[in-house]
């Protein structure tokens, strides 16, 4: 369980003037090819400072490849991007201390204990070693600090991964499926932490399969399909634009009907029931992000 009370100083160091820009991630026509296969096919977007940006899509849509390019793990085939004000192709070494990544895999040193895992990365990032203990407290692992990670549950490992990614107080935090393997309560606590980091100015870039999570958490989401950006907007706008708005009507006869609000025939039926006093309750429903994705990509996630 993540600690409910903030005990950690999450204040980041002041950025240099040339990096203090509103857009923390700027992507222009970014692409990546493996032979004849275009994993990412020329995508463009920007992410503002403190924003939580979600990248959604099927397996193989190019989400992880995009994160790998933005974090400098692989080289782009075309286009470019700036992260924290620096070019990913030419200024990778300047970007490294300013960002971090919660990997999809639970890539921890399992023969080492939780504290030593964090201390190693504190040393690598030249962060004070006490930060390891502060972060263990933040993610609720203080009592397990001296236990070997091999004995941790999946949820505990995931929390340790989050703590590790915060060791350098990143300006931009990338999260690849961050709530994977977490129980609902831990996932909720993690979402709260992400929201708090965002409120304190950290830019969050995440990928997820969970549409509800993206809906709850993200200021904006982008949909990737076959390497292309097929939609980008706030969850609400996307749902209004692509989702099906419906109303569930309960009549006095206890019959329940789901009506499509954009459908003229259904609208007329509702008007008739209203006029005749047949309607007991009406619940309007906007579309879901999953509906949006189906509308855009033609298949469920």
């Amino acid at each position: 369980m993540l600690a409910s009370e903030p005990r950690l100083d999450l204040t980041r160091p002041q950025l240099e003037d040339d990096t203090a820009r509103p857009a923390m991630i700027e992507v222009r026509d970014l692409s990546k090819s493996y032979g004849d296969v275009r994993a990412v096919a020329g995508i463009s977007f920007s992410v503002a400072s403190g924003e939580i940006f979600g990248l959604l899509g099927h397996n193989g849509a190019g989400k992880t490849t995009t994160i790998q390019m933005l974090t400098g793990r692989i080289q782009a085939s075309g286009g470019g991007a700036r992260v924290a004000g620096f070019d990913i192709a030419t200024e990778r070494e300047r970007i490294k201390p300013l960002i971090n990544l919660v990997f999809e895999e639970q890539n921890l040193y399992e023969r080492m204990n939780g504290r030593d895992n964090l201390r190693l990365f504190a040393d690598l990032y030249a962060a004070p070693r006490e930060r390891a203990d502060q972060l263990l407290e933040l993610v609720g692992l203080t009592s397990a600090a001296k236990r070997k990670v091999k004995g941790y549950s999946t949820g505990m490992k995931q929390r340790l991964l989050i703590a590790r990614a915060l060791i350098n107080k990143p300006v931009v935090l990338f999260l690849d499926e961050p709530t994977r393997g977490l129980d609902p309560a831990s996932a909720r606590d993690l979402r709260r932490l992400i929201a708090r980091l965002s409120a304190e100015g950290t830019t969050i870039f995440l990928t997820t399969h969970l549409m509800e999570e993206a809906d709850d958490l993200c200021h904006r989401v982008a949909f990737l399909g076959q390497g292309k950006l097929v939609a980008l907007d706030t969850p609400r706008e996307l749902k209004l634009r692509y989702g099906e708005r419906t109303a569930v009507v309960l009549l006095r006869s206890r019959e329940e009907h789901t009506l499509r609000l954009q459908d003229a025939e259904d609208a007329a039926r509702l008007a008739t029931w209203m006029r005749d006093g047949e309607v007991l309750t009406v619940h309007s429903q906007e579309g879901t992000l999953e509906d949006v994705f189906i509308a855009l990509a033609g298949q469920p996630l």
Partner: protein, 365 residues
Amino acid sequence: MHPRMIWSIYLKDTRDAIRDARVLVAILVPLGLGIFYHYVLDDNVANIAGLETTAVYAASESTDLPAALAEVVSGTFTLDTTAVASADEVRRQVGAESADLGLIIPAGFDAAVRAGAQPEVVVVVAEEAGADVYFVVASLGSALREVSGREPPATVRVEQTGVSSRAGTVFLEVGFRSYSVLVTIVFLVVMISMLAVPVILAEEAEKKTLSALTMIASYADVVIGKALVGVTYIVVAIGLQVSITQLWPKNWLLFGAALGTLSVSLIGFGLLLGSIFRSANQLNTWSGFLLTPILAPAFMVGVPAPAAVETALRLFPTSQATMVAVNGLTGRSLFANPGFGLIVIAIYGVGAYAVLLRHLNRNRQ
């Protein structure tokens, strides 16, 4: 390159890797083998089972010849001589392979020899007598001169040529125990550099912890950190081995240069293997197949072999390291051109590190 990050990675691996059973086995097996050889084997080849030569002799009166013969060959073999009752008994024992050779010495033999006469001594050998028997027979002349009390007609000085290969005589020069322990030290270097170190790297790649490290460190930082771990394990393990087995080299510099150059070069190969294999277990499975051609040349150095094989041994880093280390151990030039040997080893190392860095950088493409 970031020294602070290299140091952090080095410290982490030095402590963490030793907890991996595969790494521990890679260190302990050669270490244990070396200690085992130290206590079981003997530097004196003559004392090795099967190399003791036995002779029986028949003489009607006391003679110094058997003892003189044993003395002459003592640098190479132990010749165990036993008097028997008759010439027939000599022939019977050699025929029955109870003795390797026999001498039938006539009456008044020693006195006749000293007087300058030429009495006949009969040497009885079996049909399939070994080289040791003929070595003893060939030594009879010296033994007879000893018995006659005459000075040798000339003094003999042995001189080594610059290109002499010592294969076959290394056991005699170095001592069987010392040579065997030395080879286990080379074995130790090979096991740490080409099994322990690659297991450490392959595990990082397999568990994706390498990705976490390279979020801030470079591939070069990781590679150097792990190479230093290998060097540390090798230095500590060799230090232990040498201390326990009392294998003190006469030329520490040459001995250290041989093993140091070999270590750095093979660690490059090991890291290359570690970056190619997808999992530490896969690497462990194939290690026997991979290590054999690397290790075998080191063992071949002490074994008599055709000239072509000896030439081929000059091309392998482990055999070159063994040759240079033998020179360092004995303080003598038993093998020619130690400088060339070090260059051969270094060339392998430079090649390995170049391919390794190219391979790691290509992973970012």
